[in-house]
Symmetry: C2
């Protein structure tokens, strides 16, 4: 049976993961997409080209990110972090996190890699989700 | 760059997968959990013990299931099916799908396996999501 894990352990699942599933609400309908992310100081950072996902988060800021570890030594663990979407508009901070994200995920496309080195590229949206609640379960 | 795939290909990603991420809405907040499922005649079937997930779906029937295939020959593909939650109350149909689900996913816990052979076990909720829209993207 699955059982709850502590907030600390749930946050560790999020920290250890690199790919999660972002859940957002689009016109009263749930929408889920895979994202690459990094955890920094209690917030999940990611980036995206403009589209359905970013439109949905701008319209309904409450989102979640679910991360699981099914290959680990602990059977499986799944964690979910809830928080509010915040777009990073300040250009220096935007570049710092875009560069960090691209250094962690080298398999990004050439277009995205170009963006990281082109401060004029306006299209890539960098955002954070400030976590205010995290829960998790595990099954051994 | 990711590009859209056809509905037929997106449904094939769903059919080929066994684990997806169910997205639902819980008190105006998105909620995402991994589920095992099977696709049968245009609907996703799964089961769950009572809890947050089933409470959320009963209160807000509009849900989605996201499935991705990152290990395939096609780079990666991700698909998302949208539909309405329907609880399967009719006992014969409930047993048929519970047995099918448990035959596909032999790693279920002893408690769940017991349920499959015990028609009196009332706790396990069997449900389907009748798909009315499916979309997908791929990146080679």
């Amino acid at each position: 049976m699955a059982r709850a894990i502590t907030e600390v352990d749930a946050l560790e699942v999020i920290r250890a993961g690199h790919t999660g599933r972002l859940g957002c609400i689009d016109n009263n309908e749930p929408y889920v997409v895979p994202i690459n992310y990094l955890l920094d100081d209690g917030a999940i950072y990611s980036h995206s080209l403009p589209g359905k996902k970013t439109n949905a988060m701008r319209a309904h800021r409450r989102v979640c990110v679910q991360v699981d570890d099914v290959e680990g030594d602990f059977g499986w663990r799944s964690a979910i972090a809830f928080g509010d979407f915040e777009e990073i508009d300040q250009e220096y901070e935007r570049q710092v996190f875009l560069t960090k994200l691209l250094s962690i995920f080298p398999k990004l496309t050439p277009v995205e890699s170009t963006m990281a080195h082109d401060a004029a590229a306006p299209d890539s949206i960098v955002f954070r989700i400030v976590i205010d609640r995290v829960t998790g379960v595990e099954e051994e």
